[in-house]
């Protein structure tokens, strides 16, 4: 099944990169939020370093949200999802391909950009490293939980508006552990936040394709 799976993954990546795609949009949004906060808070470097983890994590989650509503809705609206559903891939495999495509086009670039934005907050080396690691571990969970929400709301005309209400509460653990890992690194403590974040992320990625496939099934029958 690797051929069909890879082809779907590559197509979604291609669409995310083209005009109307969301990869660049999410990155720009993330960078803008991270630039505005230090401007608003002022040049207190101690304070900025303390809040960097939380602000950048929230920024990353919101940026990833921007591109989520099109994850299934575009394919649903133009009928592509019907054709994809009849392919040799199971809907669970389809959901996994879409989850991966979203992470590669959004979560991964956000993670790679984060050390640069950490500079704006004067985040010291260990803190930056913890931020980078926590985003690398945690953004797959954002894509996974987001994919469930996106598949649930795919047939709603303004699904993009209700989507954040569904998934933001579910992402609270990721933000808490992610930002917690950064704070712990600043205080030279080890609090196990990264371990908990890994567990959350792993569970989300494993369960998401099944939940999303069930939602797609429901919506195709609607």
């Amino acid at each position: 099944m690797s051929g069909p799976f890879v082809s779907l993954l590559m197509r979604d990546l291609k669409l995310a990169g083209r005009s109307g795609g969301s990869a660049a949009l999410a990155l720009a949004f993330f960078a803008l939020v991270a630039t505005l906060v230090p401007l608003g808070v002022g040049a207190d470097l101690r304070l900025l370093a303390r809040i960097a983890g939380g602000v950048l994590w929230v920024g990353a989650v919101l940026a990833a949200l921007l591109s989520l509503d099109r994850l299934y809705q575009g394919d649903f609206d133009d009928g592509s999802l019907d054709v994809i559903a009849l392919s040799p891939l199971s809907l669970e495999q389809v959901a996994l391909a879409k989850l991966l495509a979203h992470w590669f086009s959004t979560g991964l670039p956000l993670t790679l950009l984060s050390p640069l934005l950490a500079l704006l907050f004067g985040l010291p080396g260990p803190g930056t490293w913890a931020l980078f690691l926590s985003l690398l571990i945690g953004t797959p969970a954002v894509s996974a939980v987001g994919a469930i929400g996106a598949s649930l709301t795919l047939s709603l005309k303004r699904g993009g508006l209700i989507l954040p209400l569904i998934i933001l509460p579910l992402l609270a653990p990721a933000v808490i552990f992610g930002a917690g890992a950064v704070t712990a690194a600043l205080d030279h403590l080890s609090n196990g936040a990264l371990g908990l974040l890994s567990a959350f992320s792993l569970a989300a990625v494993l369960l998401s394709p099944f939940a999303a496939a069930a939602c797609v099934r429901l919506n195709l029958a609607g």
Partner: protein
């Protein structure tokens, strides 16, 4: 290979409304079936039932293949080629990219150019799909159907938006699909010109 499709006392309920009940029909390999009916009589619902997107309220659809009888909707989907009234085309992709994606998705190897030539849009291969006319999009849909290599074709208004030559092409493709042992079920108001049997849906 598929040998026949039978619907046994099929009923469809959408929302609270009974769309049709006690529908019985049988299509054998090499046959075409035209589904007719007024707007809202359930033509698209019937096609979505057969494709396995919907589950029947009662009754069963059985697809007989060389690997035995298939009752499960999703399994039946693996024998189904779908041409809905939505075009399933991404404006950002070129015609060639779009068709190659479908080919790989359905596990078909090799070049897509002969199929594009067959449906008469080979010259538009590099063109982004956003510039295609509605008729050209329909031709791309026919190309996708051809490439899929599926035995059971489900077509929703296959002639919509096509010009005279396009209609001839679509009818030709259906004819050769049937003579190659395939099966066509089409919801349309136009005569297929295949000597196809007609199933008329009446509002329940």
């Amino acid at each position: 290979m598929i040998s026949s499709l039978t619907a046994e006392k099929l009923a469809c309920v959408r929302g609270e409304r009974r769309v049709f009940t006690d529908l019985v029909f049988r299509v054998a390999a090499g046959e075409a079936l035209v589904v007719e009916g007024a707007n809202g009589a359930g033509k698209t619902s019937l096609l979505r039932l057969i494709a396995g997107f919907l589950t029947p309220a009662s009754g069963a659809i059985v697809l007989n293949t060389d690997k035995g009888a298939i009752n499960d909707g999703e399994e039946r989907g693996h024998y189904t080629g779908w041409l809905g009234h939505q075009d399933a085309i991404k404006p950002q992709l070129s015609v060639g990219e779009q068709l190659e994606f479908f080919a790989r998705l359905y596990g078909v190897q090799g070049t897509v150019l002969p199929v594009l030539e067959r449906v008469g849009i080979a010259r538009q291969r590099e063109l982004p799909c956003r510039y295609l006319s509605a008729g050209q999009k329909k031709r791309l849909g026919l190309a996708r159907l051809l490439l899929s290599g599926r035995g059971l074709w489900l077509l929703d208004e296959p002639f919509a938006a096509l010009d005279t030559a396009g209609r001839g092409l679509a009818a030709d493709l259906m004819r050769s699909h049937c003579s190659a042992g395939g099966m066509v079920i089409a919801a349309t108001h136009d005569p297929l010109g295949l000597g196809a049997r007609v199933l008329r849906l009446e509002a329940a």
